[in-house]
């Protein structure tokens, strides 16, 4: 069964500056939605409003036409990876997997560098591995939708391919909304691409559209 997550009527402003205005976004299971935009364009705010951790009284968040606000309280529905480390650094890798109810073995198979480090606290890992643990847990966590805010930032290229593989594996049963500045990775993995600009959301087919909207430099 396909599921559809929708958000509409998002309006956000700070003082006179309008950040988001009448935004509508939808994502269905089995698809990846890429969200691009310049710094301060409201990408993270939109994801947090969708997740339900940023107050926005006017907007509506629906799962299969049923209101789920705040979405994070809906059972086994949505996972959100913020752009910063958020899993308590005092937890061991093994404990983090246990709390999320996921087996650690497939993760260690993917990342042999972390073999024998299951009992290490997250704070003892390098920044990149800490982030990979969080990414894996959010991507694989039981649920229907995953929101990823800057998943590729500070990750080395070989591990970016690994993240893309995890997303592809889960895509069969989940929907993803991904925001990052590394646009070529977003373009390569997305089924639909959107650009936030001047408070509005614009559908883009490819990098030519991104150039047209002024997100990429038009060279030649």
């Amino acid at each position: 069964m396909k599921h559809k997550l929708e958000i509409d009527g998002v309006r956000l402003s700070y003082g006179d500056k309008v950040i988001l205005s009448d935004i509508y976004l939808e994502c269905t299971t089995g698809s990846v939605v890429g969200l691009l935009g310049r710094n301060g364009s409201g990408k993270s705010s939109l994801l947090q409003i969708l997740f339900g951790t940023k107050q926005n009284d006017d907007c509506s968040v629906r799962l299969n036409e049923i209101s789920i606000k705040p979405a994070f309280k809906a059972d086994k529905c949505i996972a959100y990876l913020p752009q910063f480390n958020f899993i308590p650094q005092g937890l061991s890798v093994q404990k983090a997997f246990q709390i999320l109810g996921l087996p650690i073995e497939p993760f260690l198979t993917n990342l042999p560098e972390l073999n024998n480090r299951e009992k290490s606290k997250l704070r003892e890992l390098s920044g990149g591995f800490y982030r990979l643990v969080e990414l894996y847990l959010m991507i694989k966590k039981e649920g229907k939708f995953v929101l990823l805010d800057e998943p590729f930032t500070h990750i080395m290229p070989i591990h970016i391919e690994l993240i893309q593989k995890w997303i592809e594996e889960e895509k069969t049963k989940k929907g993803f909304i991904i925001s990052d500045h590394l646009y070529h990775h977003i373009i390569s993995i997305s089924d639909k691409l959107y650009l936030l600009k001047d408070g509005k959301i614009h559908f883009c087919k490819d990098s030519d559209d991104l150039k047209e909207f002024g997100y990429l430099k038009n060279i030649g």
């Binding site: 951790t53 959100y80 958020f86």
Partner: protein
């Protein structure tokens, strides 16, 4: 993991500071052998709980997302952990008064 276990884990962030305050209140009552100071100590406990809230809230802003991802709101985390803390304080008061 059950939500109650996660709330206890969150309570673990300030359990030492909070129980030190409870312990010092118990020592004060025990030292003076006076029940009349209980209302003052109760207010002291409430005030220090508020300071602990401000301190933890500032330091753990990012960790809230870990709990949100388990379906637990900030309100639920604090209301449950502070209720437990005040309950433990009241239990201490009760047994201290009995022993006087």
């Amino acid at each position: 993991m059950k939500k109650s276990a996660l709330i206890l884990r969150f309570y673990g962030n300030f359990v030492v500071a909070s129980n030190l305050i409870t312990y010092s209140c118990w020592k004060l009552i025990d030292y003076w052998k006076m029940t009349t100071i209980i209302p003052v100590l109760f207010l002291f406990k409430i005030a220090t709980s508020f300071i602990i809230f401000l301190w933890v809230n500032e330091r753990k802003q990012k960790e809230y997302f870990f709990y949100y991802n388990q379906g637990i709101s900030k309100m639920k985390l604090w209301s449950n952990s502070l209720s437990l803390d005040i309950f433990l304080f009241c239990v201490m008061l009760y047994f201290t008064i009995l022993s006087l």
